[in-house]
Symmetry: C2
Subunit: 355 residues, 2 copies
């Protein structure tokens, strides 16, 4: 899906930059945004003239559908700067495809490919000073779309706003992560929107996660809502289990996000001759493996943290601590993947794309 | 939960009124709003000074959490004007309680009772000219709360905006409604947020409903997501089935909204000595009753439409037309309920509250 829209892109530069106010060594994830944003509105059945302009608040009607009926989707991506000052994206085509799949499920218009890609590329070039070199530095990219049409009748909006905003990021260390396996709460229904990166999926997790936090756990491993016997996602990440020397992860489904880090890790592990089984993983298998010492690792996989090791889990009031492992598969895969992303290793998969 | 906040309410009146531009005989649901709105912000861990001010768009940061993580809840209520120009609400305490239950589930702060009630009452008084007398006229009330805190980390916002907006409404006639019984898509998960009036629940329904519309059906009757064998809600309404002379409706659960029209209809029906069974209703029972002629009525129940009769349903490619019934239970209950709401009949339940 492409348009000629992007040829008409307008760029309004910020009069001043905020970059000198930013402490790049002490960034908190997702709090600081660059000088500009990309915006393209949808109305009268078509995408309007796209624009890059100074990052600033914008006006919405109190009856805007995003407030009342939750039509809102997003993507999470990262850009990296190599030693030659070239900027690289990681599998942006996958984010673009998933974004439009989310749009379809939420009854929102698909964004044309050139609007998404050219908007992103031009925005990154304009704010390239904000992308710092060196491993551990990246630019977190947040494309999102919201329903802006006014009116409180419960049907799809006729107007939307697509935006891309940029937030410089340091490598994400979340501390030691203990997780609770969900026995009651769920993140997704069969026939629901769990596979979409829809805003409402995230708010639904906050209350159960807050309860888990109070009980001393940083995240929840979500199970299938019908039986709570199958392991599905960890917090807002996909999840992998290592039993002996095999990695297990659930197949994607309409309850599980088709994570780009997840599929990249699977491909990398296979190339390293690590056994990977993509199949439903039962809570009972995990507990049994933990009890007999075969459970070696659990880790989450997602754009923000890349790979997030989990040190223990609780199920039915029983806590299982994982062994401390030198040279874990999690750390090996994270090292290899971040080296590819930062252009420190050869990208034999063809995943990196120059801006 | 009460505060002293409401004593400090500030009122900024609109310089002009839009009322003369409105064609009150040809209102479309939810499109026109009155001159003022009520607003109260939450920040620094507490509710701030409430204000009534002219209805107008407001500014939000592009990273506001409502756009990215969907923390957004609402209520639907109505006010009515009687022949003495008194304004009446219908069971507002129930809306208030449900609003805060939704807030808890979405990890949002509860709104103090006096902020909700006094804000609503003062707003209705200020815009009372907009509430028209006569059966069929009402003021649709939309209290809602959104997460306004900036930042794209996936955790609960620290800032929120609670607003009430008002939209004059005519009685809602949706035409002849045929429904499709859901065999694949779902609106709610076990352990999910189906019982909350959360924005994301509604967007999730738009795509399946659009598909149903294209197939010639106006709404979907949602079934449980695990087995698709139990009938749960109709579109955005609760649903009743009349088999012979008994009314059936599903019990409320974490998948089903605790509808105020629903519970009022149950109480009214019981007082009329109509048999009501609140229990899970199976799709197979419905199909069997339709086949042997015992299925007399299906109707939705909700604030906007009050009672919405359904003329037929489709399940597994088979369409079942309902009999045309004189003096249906749906029409009887709707007549009695709207008479109570409009103060045309004695309110022996004590449901109406004067503003």
């Amino acid at each position: 899906m492409s348009t000629t829209l992007i040829n008409t892109i307008e760029i309004i530069k910020a009069g001043t930059t905020k970059i000198n106010d930013v402490d790049f060594d002490n960034l908190h994830f997702g709090e600081v945004f660059t000088d500009h944003l990309f915006e393209c509105d949808f109305k009268n059945g078509e995408w309007q003239k796209p624009i890059i302009k100074p990052y600033a608040p914008f006006l919405l009607d109190p009856s805007a559908k995003v407030f009342h009926y939750g039509q809102a989707i997003f993507e999470g991506m990262k850009a990296y700067k190599d030693d030659n000052n070239d900027i690289w994206l990681f599998r942006p085509d996958e984010n673009y495809l998933r974004f439009n799949n989310s749009a379809i499920r939420m009854a929102m218009p698909e964004v044309p490919e050139d609007v998404f890609m050219e908007g992103l590329n031009q925005l990154l070039k304009l704010d390239s000073e904000w992308i710092k070199k060196g491993k551990g530095n990246s630019m977190y990219i947040r494309p999102f779309m919201i329903a802006t049409g006014a009116g409180v009748i419960a049907n799809p909006s006729e107007e939307y706003k697509f935006m891309i905003i940029l937030s410089p990021a340091k490598s994400y260390y979340s501390g030691e992560v203990k997780v609770l396996i969900a026995e009651h709460f769920s993140r997704a229904a069969n026939g629901g929107i769990g596979a979409a990166k829809a805003a409402g999926n995230y708010a639904a997790q906050f209350y159960p996660t807050t309860l888990a936090n109070k009980a001393g756990f940083q995240q929840i491993i979500w199970t299938d809502d019908a039986t709570h016997t199958k392991l599905e996602e960890a917090g807002t990440m996909n999840v992998f289990f290592r039993i002996n020397d095999t990695l297990y992860t659930a197949p994607t489904s309409e309850r599980i996000l088709d994570g780009i880090t997840r599929k990249s890790l699977i491909d990398m592990a296979k190339r390293e001759n690590i056994e990977v089984e993509v199949r439903p993983v039962l809570v009972s298998e995990l507990v049994e493996a933990a009890k007999n010492g075969n459970l070696k690792e659990i880790f989450g996989a997602g754009t923000a943290a890349v790979v997030n090791p989990i040190i223990g889990f609780s199920y039915k009031e029983e806590y299982f601590e994982l062994p401390k492992i030198e040279n874990s598969i999690a750390s090996q895969l994270k090292e290899k993947l971040t080296n590819i992303q930062h252009k420190l290793a050869e990208d034999t998969f063809g995943w990196t794309v120059k801006v």
